[in-house]
Symmetry: C2
Subunit: 395 residues, 2 copies
């Protein structure tokens, strides 16, 4: 913790992505031609995206409404790829360390579409895989530029589990990764209660690599009325859908030290979900199931789960005791403009107004330090200089 | 309302289904051979069902745990098809009228698998359709045996919308139907924000036929660990998934008198869902969407939606003001033994302990009478004789 009256602030949800010219150098030579063709097909990419969400998320009318031009006019989102600029802006926002997910901006590219929307459309699995690999290689370098302050969340596909396991080992050996993103769709393979995934759970537990789901993927809706609203509402459900598959199939029973982090999908669903799961667990017809699964779903939640970047609405603060003060990890969503950047201090004041300071400190940095292994002592001096004033946060 | 101190009790969620020999007579002659082959393939039916839920719901170990044999020993579930027995048992339970959904018991048959699990597996659409039609013809006769006290909920498929519209007209003309079940899956067709469904919404609004979703369908899970738990958890989400498609695509804006009833899928999700939908509706990026959709999602909920058989857990009673005292309709789930039958009076005492009596009366019968057009005056004499004692219900 900082020595003075400032808070050690870690964002458990930021986004970064490379520029097209940059990522090209990270794509394996044998895939460069495919990459160039893919990149040249801008119209095709936009069409696939629109087919998926129904409307381009930052496009057309929505884009004007989003006043994104204004944001770009004010400095834009170049911090998504510009390491130096990013560092300045993050520090201006009071943040000493960050967890980095993929996530597009206008200028950056998601190689072959891989990232939070992996498996969004049909494409050779080798292409999806190369998209993940090239992104991971780029992210390793990006995180290494500010070692100890950037924890990258690596990408995998799940078509070939031994290959995914090897990638987790590569990410861990690299030293700057804070876990992996689990694809929310399984590309036609069985969903996550199937035993085929067991080696993946094992390696993530053994190597202390948290498994994340992050909102982004949904089924395709086509361009019909209201699709954007439906997309935005459903990304949360589909992002935490794997969670109850892991509970019921005993993954958390077999892997008590596995960390499962659900990021940017709200937290208003948590309390109701645990109540329902626990009451179904107690049903007479589940007696045979309870023999295999000795503990209630909520106990596995408290043992294995964490909630990232859940302060978009009020429920995280008001329901913190039920969700768990030790579970919630704040995130700024930088450089996305729907997050708190560049007004984090003011927005934190508002969000944490009713929260005791010690609890706020946990949710603003303590929990993330523990989950991702950030060195709190090493970060304290910086936090004492740039962190938000403690007296303004909580009571 | 009953003249004396008893409550007029209507169950908004009961189930009925025909015996195999009975339904055979309702299957159109040209489909009888197909029906016989389908019926003979008991092993295939069970296998398809197990593939769907992961484990047979009432089967194997789960069945022993369910102590269903005991229930059968006590009198069984013959009321699913035995009209006279059903009437006696319903009245013993204090109920004067009921809304009837499909739903299997051991002896009864769901023709060609149609019902709450329509589209569960691949099958010619003409076969699904004949399954719905034959069930509807049987249900019409079944309801007509006790006219004014049984509102059947008819089945449709959505492969051919003009055909579905004609079926809604047939059901309405028949006089004993209280609406239709909307399939929770769309058999490969676009989901419910697509304009192709517009004639269906129109006819249901014009003919005052409430549209229902009822828990039952989920994606296939295969027979892996925990599938039964996953199935039971997810049937609720998939059952009310069409609801936000209808909100966002403006169906409720265009059809203010359409009634949309979500039955046997709990109610713990309602408050959180409306909060999330309303806060997303207010996002700056939705300005263009608000031009088409002048009101908040929660306003469409209060205008169009109803919640059936939501008293399986405590949230319906404790959150009744947020969910809406005018929205909640109790149901016994007869003859399923996970419902309140045959101990309805005792269970109601418990569930409504903290609820003012006038509100309890609304949720126990008043709302259902309004939604389904039951003649309260005509039912009052019976209610005054068999209804649960008012002094024991609520405060």
């Amino acid at each position: 913790m900082p020595a003075n009256d400032r808070v050690l602030l870690i964002s458990a949800d930021c986004h970064a992505g490379p520029l097209p010219d940059t990522i090209r150098g990270y794509v394996a030579p044998k895939y460069r031609e495919v990459f160039d063709a893919w990149l040249a097909d801008q119209a095709g990419m936009l069409a696939r995206r629109a087919e998926h969400t129904g409307e381009a998320i930052y496009g057309d009318e929505a884009m004007a409404d989003f006043e994104v031009e204004k944001a770009v006019g004010q400095g834009g989102m170049d911090g998504a790829w510009d390491s130096k600029r990013r560092l300045t802006e993050i520090e201006q926002d009071g943040i000493v360390a960050e967890v980095i997910f993929p996530g597009g901006t206008f200028q950056t590219i998601s190689p072959f579409g891989s990232g939070l929307m992996t498996y969004q459309y049909a494409q050779d699995e080798a292409i999806w895989w190369e998209g993940c690999r090239s992104y991971n290689r780029w992210l390793a370098d990006f995180c290494n530029e500010v070692k100890g302050r950037r924890a990258g969340v690596g990408l995998i596909t799940i078509d070939d589990i031994p290959r995914a396991v090897a990638e987790v080992e590569w990410l861990r050996a690299n030293g700057v990764f804070g876990g992996i993103v689990l694809p929310v769709d399984t590309n036609g393979h069985p969903f996550y209660n199937h035993p085929r995934y067991e080696p993946l759970w094992s390696v993530c537990e053994a190597l202390e690599m948290p498994i994340h789901t992050h909102s982004g993927w949904t089924p395709n809706y086509g361009r019909h009325d209201g699709s954007l609203g439906i997309f935005l509402y459903e990304i949360s459900w589909f992002a935490h859908r794997p969670f109850h598959f892991l509970i019921w199939s005993g993954v958390f029973e077999r892997h008590p030290r596995l960390k499962f982090v659900m990021t940017e999908q709200g937290s208003s669903w948590v309390v109701g979900a645990l109540q329902t799961l626990d009451s179904q667990y107690a049903l007479p017809m589940f007696r045979h199931l309870r023999r295999k699964l000795p503990r209630k779903p909520s106990e596995y939640y408290h043992q294995n789960a964490f909630i990232g970047a859940a302060f978009m609405d009020d429920t995280a603060a008001t329901q913190r005791y039920e969700i768990g003060v030790d579970k919630l990890m704040w995130g700024s969503d930088y450089p996305h403009i729907e997050g708190t950047w560049p007004h984090t201090a003011a927005k934190l004041e508002q969000a944490f107004a009713g929260v005791p300071r010690a609890e706020a400190a946990q949710m603003l940095g303590g929990n993330a330090a523990r989950v991702y292994g950030f060195d709190v002592e090493a970060l304290s001096a910086l936090a004492a200089r740039i962190g938000p004033m403690q007296e303004k946060l909580g009571r």
